[in-house]
Symmetry: C2
Subunit: 157 residues, 2 copies
DNA sequence: TCCTAATCTGGAATGATTCCGAAATGAATA
DNA sequence: TATTCATTTCGGAATCATTCCAGATTAGGA
């Protein structure tokens, strides 16, 4: 496992010489406590706001960007207008439910070898990202009527 | 292979009862002729505009959305503010170069079995998407100085 | 306690995408 | 060929996540 923890993140901030501001600590908390949700900036903002007197959305964006850049968390470009961040740095597939939006991590048993790609195409892989879209167990358990007539997204049926 | 072709797309439009307007034909051409580029809406708009008297960006968006919804092309949610569409419907990995932005298709030799996921998690996969980020051969061939100091993106290092 | 680079902030700006009502037009039909 | 109308197109406004900015604040070393 390679999940973010409060201590781990704070330790890394110290190592990298980044200041420990109340805003950052609040964001760290929000991040860790919601790590399984693949939270977006808005959620982190809302959660962080509960934990400190002042935080602005600008700060949340800047901080998450900084964290991602430093490799503390992973940035997911997603969902058109709602990016997400994740604390699971392990290689895995994100299973994205088209109905409820929930994201489930699925550990990859065998992955495509970056070495093969480098050899074949000369392309050096630095980062991967995989998503399978579909319907999660909970949503499948819903009565049919509820599922029917629901467009998954505007565009990509 | 399962690449889009002009005849194929037009045939499908007919089958599905969609009208063949000059705008759509121009978009079809733009799509087919740039299929290896994973073009975004702006590019298609620019290319389509060369091929017909009138096209609006709204129309391009609507049309690409319609095509994707009908399964003629695949919609890629991407790049924060610049989505892409692709004509390669085959299962593959998109190799995204962090420097020049080029996207190379890499055919998947062995993929993760949706059946396994369904059995283990009850998650039914309807659609997949995989991206490996890194540097393409051409960019790696550049002198080091050019590569140095280049941030891949704002956020996700 | 001082000092300064690092941070924070609110609001304006950005830019892709969507929405909307009205005008235009394929193409089926008479 | 003319008629008809559901489909498509259009442009411009609206949306909305994210970024930018310039000034105010502050963490933390000296």
């Amino acid at each position: 496992m390679n999940m973010i923890t409060k201590e781990g993140l704070i330790g890394q901030l110290r190592e990298k010489g980044l200041k420990l501001t109340p805003q950052r600590l609040a964001i760290v908390d929000a991040l860790v406590e919601n790590r399984h949700l693949h939270p977006g900036a808005r959620l982190i903002y809302a959660e962080a706001a509960k934990r400190t007197k002042t935080v602005s959305l600008s700060t949340v964006y800047a901080t998450l960007g900084e964290f991602a850049q430093q490799g503390l968390i992973k940035f997911l470009e997603f969902d058109r207008m709602d990016n997400r961040y994740e604390g699971n740095l392990e290689e895995h597939i994100n299973l994205v439910c088209r109905r409820c939006g929930k994201i489930i991590d699925y550990h990859i048993p065998t992955s495509i070898e970056p070495k093969d790609i480098a050899r074949e195409l000369g392309f050096v892989v630095t980062d991967a990202r995989m998503e399978y879209y579909g319907y999660c167990r909970d949503c499948l358990a819903q009565p049919k009527e509820v599922m029917a007539g629901e467009q998954t997204r505007d565009q990509d049926g």
